[in-house]
């Protein structure tokens, strides 16, 4: 049924695109709302009738995966959820995948957020996606949530030398000295890896500038697609790996599923999103071609006149 649905959708989309191409060759205008309609169908069809692709992890994604994989069990990893609901469809899948990977490898995970909106998404991730897969993990021993702290770069500037000065307690008001994860952890310098997930300011860039470089802590980033190109100059000297947009999330999910049997049946929203992404990109590229056909035809027409 799913196959018939997606085939029917593809026929409608590409039949429509050919019709539009013919229309543009005949030098007729295409209303912008037609473009919106095509994008809607291209996105909605693979959601209703899912199509999935296998992903080959790119070196930047593989590097972050390998870093998490190579750390010895018991290492301390800090994950920062610096995003809001608008960015969540892109970056929450990668945050969930990395969290699961860290817990599976037996790392101690410290969760926090530099965005007020990130705290709610962090607790949603923990309660709905991450912790149900790890009932044996104990709060304060295997993981801890510090929640949100106001202060932007100021927070990073303080925790790079002293955690307790900025976070006297965890999110449940338990003093940090009573949280066993923090035994021997005084500042960010004592962490084995920081993974910053976000796409605005403060976010991954600030983690590199205010923690990664001055403290010499390895930093991995998972970023919204819009700022992914800004992160590439930092690789591989200043960041160990980059997950760029939903493609990065899909690649990480794929490599996690193929290397760890526990996650074979894991919900993978990143991989699911690649179907609509692929189809929508093909439609956009088709419209770029149609737009160029219209442009060159109108230019030739003007020259003739």
């Amino acid at each position: 049924m799913g196959n018939i649905g997606i085939i029917l959708s593809l026929v409608i989309i590409f039949g429509g695109l050919v019709a539009l191409l013919i229309r543009s060759v005949l030098a007729r205008e295409v209303d912008r709302r037609i473009i919106f309609l095509f994008i809607f169908i291209a996105v909605a069809a693979p959601i209703l009738f899912p199509i999935t692709f296998s992903e080959k992890p790119t070196p930047v994604v593989q590097a972050l995966f390998d870093k998490v994989e190579s750390l010895p069990a018991g290492s301390t990893v800090l994950l920062s959820f610096d995003f809001d609901p608008a960015m969540a469809p892109e970056v929450q899948p990668m945050a969930n995948a990395i969290s699961r990977h860290c817990l599976e490898k037996g790392h101690r995970v410290i969760f926090m957020s530099l965005w007020a909106t990130g705290q709610a998404l962090l607790s949603q991730s923990l309660s709905e996606y991450i912790l149900p897969g790890f009932p044996e993990k104990v709060d304060g021993v295997d993981y801890v949530s510090l929640g949100y702290k106001a202060g932007n770069e100021g927070v990073l500037n303080v925790i790079v030398t002293n955690f307790r000065k900025m976070f006297p307690t965890d999110v449940n008001s338990v003093p940090l000295d009573s949280v066993s994860i923090f035994d021997g952890i005084n500042s960010c310098r004592d962490l084995d890896l920081v993974v910053a997930i976000g796409g605005g300011a403060p976010g991954p860039k600030e983690w590199i500038l205010f923690v990664g470089d001055p403290a010499g802590v390895p930093v991995g980033v998972g970023v919204a697609a819009v700022i992914a190109p800004q992160m590439y100059p930092y690789y591989p000297e200043q960041v160990v790996g980059i997950l760029g947009g939903v493609k990065g999330a899909a690649e990480y999910e794929y490599v996690l599923k193929t290397t760890h049997k526990r996650f074979e049946d894991m919900d993978s929203p990143g991989l699911k999103m690649m179907g609509p992404q692929t189809l929508a990109h093909i439609v956009i590229m088709s419209f770029i071609i149609i737009g160029n056909v219209i442009y060159f035809r109108s230019r030739r027409k003007e020259k003739k006149q």
Partner: protein, 271 residues
């Protein structure tokens, strides 16, 4: 308002009331607060469709959603500012009784006279609301701008300037170069192979060099210099193209998120 508009609004509201009724019916027995949940999901769906309706053209539904979003955002950030900055960061360092009142753990060891300075600056910032004393707010603003600039300057200079320059110094023959014979006999086209790494390093070197030439305006862009400048334009174009591609991916992801919400949480067409 014109009559057809009333009719459209009535139809839309009726449809959403119907969807609320149907939703609560499907939730019944599964959730404790199914009526409230049904209402919230239906209202969220209404707002999503109201925002998307702008793609057709500007309309009252879009305006309603836009104004609601701005108002709720402003209120949310004002509350967050008070509870997270003043209550959580400042109050525990000022007074034990205030900390107990707001139920935040006090930090007696941190008591310091200097914590009153941000309080004073914060009050001065509010002078902006006064028509005559508005100029006073420039002092705390100057402090904020100066502190931020000072804090960022060193970090950006080290990480974005010095480290980025050093990252551009890449070995043009790669790090594993052992001569032409070894290179040709071990030709590897994979992403980590010697050829691809070497090619990547040349792209970085020439890309940065030609990009800088393009922004050098003290010499006329003619001859070899002009060719370098033109290559620089191409490098910039490719960079902007990559950024555009990523931006498209980001926007489509957001659309996928919204449509998934409509299909899964509201219409329950998918699991």
């Amino acid at each position: 308002m014109r009559r057809p508009l009333y009719i459209v609004m009535a139809v839309v509201l009726a449809l959403f009331l119907l969807s609320w009724y149907l939703k609560t019916g499907s939730y019944k027995g599964e959730h404790e607060h199914y009526i409230l949940r049904g209402l919230l999901v239906t209202f969220s769906a209404f707002l999503t469709l109201a925002v998307l309706s702008f793609l057709y053209r500007d309309n009252p539904f879009y305006k309603f959603a836009e104004h609601l979003f701005v108002g709720v955002s402003a209120a949310f950030w004002m509350c967050m500012g008070f509870w997270t900055t003043i209550v959580q960061n400042l109050v525990p360092r000022l007074s034990v009784s205030l900390s107990e009142y707001f139920k935040v753990p006090p930090q007696p060891g941190d008591y310091n006279f200097f914590f009153y300075i941000p309080v004073i600056l914060g009050v001065l910032l509010l002078m902006r609301l006064s028509p005559k004393g508005g100029w006073i707010s420039r002092w705390p603003l100057a402090f904020i701008v100066g502190t931020t600039a000072g804090l960022n300057f060193v970090r950006y200079l080290r990480s974005d300037f010095i480290k980025q320059i050093s990252s551009t110094f890449v070995p043009l023959l790669g790090t594993q170069w052992q001569g032409v014979g070894h290179f040709l006999s071990n030709l590897d086209l994979s992403a980590t192979g010697e050829l691809v790494v070497m090619f990547g390093n040349w792209v970085i070197f020439l890309g940065v060099f030609c990009g800088l030439i393009y922004f050098f305006f003290s010499k006329e862009h003619k001859g070899a210099f002009g060719i370098g400048s033109r290559v620089g334009i191409w490098v910039l174009m490719v960079t902007f193209g990559a950024s555009f591609g990523y931006t498209v991916m980001g926007r489509i992801s957001l659309l996928v998120g919204r449509i998934t919400f409509l299909f899964r949480d509201w219409l329950e067409l998918i699991n």
